[in-house]
Amino acid sequence: MTLSTIGGWSRRLVGTAALATLLLSTTAFGAAAFQQSPMLDAAVADGSLPPIEQRLPPEPLVVTPVSEVGSYGGTARAMRSSTEEFGDATSVVGIESLTRLNAEDGATIEPNLAQSWEWSNDDKTLTMTLRKGLKWSDGEPFTTADIAFWWDDVINNAELTPTMPGDWMSAGEPMTVTVVDEQTFKLDFKAPNRLIELLIARDGYQGQIFLPAHFLKPFHPKYADPAKLAEMAKAAGYATWAELFAQKALSDDVFGVANFDSPVIRAFKPVSAIGSHLILERNPFYFKVDTEGNQLPYIDKVDVDLVQNPEVYTLKASSGEADLALENTTITQMPVFIDNAEKGGYRVLEYSAGFTNIANMMLNQTVADPDKRALFQDIRFRKALEIAINRDEINELVFFGLGTPMQNSILPIGGRCWDEAVSKTNTQFDPDGAKALLDEIGMKMDGEWRTLPNGKPFKFTLTYWPGEGGDAKRKIVELTQTYFRNIGLNFDVREVERSLYFEFTTSNQHDMGLWHADSATDPLWVTGPKIIPRTQRHGAFATLWATWFETHGEKGEEPPRDMKDAMAAWEKAKATGTPEALVEGCKAVVKANADGAWTIGTVGAFPQPLIVSNAMRNIPEQGMASWDWGYMARYHPEQFYLAQ
């Protein structure tokens, strides 16, 4: 493949998943029909592991492979670049939540650990039924006791959880969890809370809504002798039992910090760490099979290598040292990946990156300087900035023409929320129009630059962190600087480190901020939209207004009408949580942002190169690789296999 093939790629707006339909059904298999990986044969033969029929639930979840039934074996290689970054590892290992989101439309909720669930008529009670016969990786049964333990002894333990997480609150009060029987439990909310269904589908995994009670009880003072526990913690190098417990219970980011002790429910379990490598092995009690009754996963082991330097990540990915790489393979490196594909023995797939904008510019409407504030609050000024940008040029120079000029919006995947006209608001390149708008405001040229409307000299600065997305941000910022200077604005750029960026923007010390706009998929946008000044950290376009929202009017300044309306639309969508309400809220928020020119978008909906080794099979040809999509976890990594 050469670069010229890139030009042939369609400028896909809608990342319609053309992936082979993943049919999920529960079919009854004859007991003799199940097969297991040869890796487990010896353990079954010597009796240390029960036979396959006793390990699988009576009705295992049947996964239809993407293209073909795979073969067992092999070690899949993945990388991570810090303790928090788990995208590549998650993509190979997968996530098991109670329910899951369909990969094609992004919104349909499907059974997983839970077989069924239903809402009461008033939408206040969610009753979930777990699959029968599920087992942890140590063979112990997985039941509602694991959910009760998480709720009663972890969330409701003040030492482990000092503050109740907001997700489990409704109308200011915590939910109640009732265990009906071994398989059935109820969540009761004070107010209707349909949103929780969505949150459980995305985040209802180990550590988030259940924990292995049988394993953790010996580390909890309710079940163990507190004095002995304190001793145990000290011996292990921890100050309190809570620190020891936190380590033993660790599973939210197993890839960053290995917890080799705890049993898991997912397809792979971390078994050892050698140098920078973390090794995971198949979970013999995993509850899914393929259409021919082969217990999944196909792959026996996963090797996750910690690679801290981005250049080395690129070098390793482009020489074929990973079976799957996507988290740090930025589009700006596309030519390198394509050039080396043949030699490195891999393919480059074009997935959709989960950004509506990698460089989302935010003019701070509540900036401290009163002159600047008056100017920044003038919508004509913000409009002038928007149309001064040549988005097609950015698209060509930074994204090889593969992106889409658009405002900050919600990605078109699923299509429910997408409105092309709204997303294209003020994206036309019109420097003369921009100059006319500035003239109209009264910003006269004085020598090289324009002044403020009152005649004082004017200069404004963009403060930003160049990380994420390779060097795309830096390139876009450089181009933007010339665009703004071309219309006579004295515009400067200051690069800062990540935490310093937040220090600046949350304390209102910036003229303009810049951040990547993710959390931009439907329906998950509702959990963390970046286009309304919801929190200080994501309200760089109106820090004091964001403070006002965040502190419920105690601090900061009262925002204008349109921003309050957009916030209300988001809060309503969140509180109602029905699919219709989510779409309605989404449209309102996107439109408010575009009409109000709150954030300045450039180019979005661009592809993310997905590096897949030639041995790695059953990977959908198209899809989306983003954080809120769970990277590849939605594409059933357990049915990926390594061709021998």
Binding site: S82, G256, S276, D305
Partner: protein, 328 residues
């Protein structure tokens, strides 16, 4: 002599206390704390963190305490329990993290030190004896190149070339197939085939400097009257140079010993990150970046202790090596 050593040992205590205070303050100086940088990283990845969670974590990690309370808690645990604290980022005891990485760290550091010395000393002497010869110019140019090229650049180039033309796996100390394997001759050979890269890269930077120092020192000595005298007495030229001027030229090697010990732990951080070596350097770097207070603190303290011990050792060695110091 023993009185001298004892005095120095006693002086180490207040020095270390002062160092621990300063290092703790320096670690706390940047705006924010571990949590703010942790949250910034999470946000960069796409996670949204609500204020309640942040407050809860801050409480749990004791980050609300005033800095001096945090300091005394930290120091108290080290002195009385030998507990270096808990790494927020890795969620493991600090001591466990560091100890895991010490063997490979010392292996790489010792090898590159030996490499640097074994290359620099003969070349330095040669350059001095054959001053302004073709060989001298050649090595001088080479030395300056070694000094001028940034190490990480050299590392990246090595990685590229060794992968592209020799098919070696990139970075690390072992090929993937040997990672899990027990020690064997093949594994040892595999280790050597990876080890030479960091050794040469880390060594080169030191080599250039050492060549210049040796050359200058030997040159100074060569012109001294005692050398002339020895020469006129008909002493073999090789023996003469090795026995007298070189011995004195060794002094800077020994007096730099104080910085070799800490350098072994923190040295060549960037090279280690680029080469993906399981050494302490990248750990220290990440800890400083994420403001992982106790891990970074343990490192800084350890570096300080090693520097102090290193300086002591070099003073003793110097006294032993050079009678002028011993007897004055």
């Amino acid at each position: 002599m023993w009185g001298f050593v004892l005095r120095r040992l006693i002086w180490m205590v207040p020095t270390l206390i002062v160092i621990s205070v300063i290092s703790f303050i320096i670690i706390q100086l940047p705006p924010g704390d571990y949590l703010s940088s942790y949250i910034a990283r999470l946000e960069a990845l796409g996670t949204t963190v609500d204020q309640a969670t942040i407050d809860a974590l801050r409480l749990r990690y004791g980050l609300n305490d005033p800095i001096w309370v945090q300091y005394f808690k930290w120091l108290g645990n080290i002195v009385f329990d030998g507990n270096f604290g808990y790494s927020f980022e890795w969620r493991l005891p600090v001591s466990q993290l560091i100890i895991e990485r010490l063997p490979t760290t010392f292996l790489v550091a010792t090898c590159s030190l030996l490499f640097a010395w074994s290359v620099a000393l003969p070349i330095g002497i040669f350059s001095a004896v054959k001053q302004y010869s073709l060989g001298d110019y050649f090595f001088t140019i080479l030395g300056f190149l070694g000094l001028g090229i940034p190490n990480f650049m050299l590392a990246l180039t090595f990685l590229y070339v060794s992968n592209r033309y020799f098919g070696l796996s990139i970075g690390g100390l072992f090929s993937p197939q040997y990672l899990n394997a027990p020690w064997s001759l093949d594994k040892f050979i595999d280790l050597l085939s990876h080890l030479w890269i960091p050794v040469v890269i880390v060594g080169t930077a030191g080599t250039a400097g050492l060549i210049r120092i040796t050359r200058a020192n030997v040159l100074d000595e060569l012109r001294k009257p005692y050398v002339e005298t020895a020469r006129s007495k008909g002493l073999h030229p090789m023996l003469l140079i090795l026995k007298y001027p070189v011995r004195i030229a060794l002094n800077p090697f020994v007096s730099s010993m104080g910085f070799i010990l800490p350098g072994m732990i923190s040295g060549e951080v960037i090279v280690s990150i680029v080469l993906n070596l399981p050494t302490t350097g990248p750990l220290l770097y990440a800890a400083l970046l994420s403001q992982d207070t106790y891990l970074a603190g343990a490192f800084v303290l350890m570096l300080a202790v090693l520097t102090v011990i290193g300086v002591l050792i070099s003073d003793i060695l110097l006294a032993w090596l050079d009678p002028r110091i011993r007897l004055s």
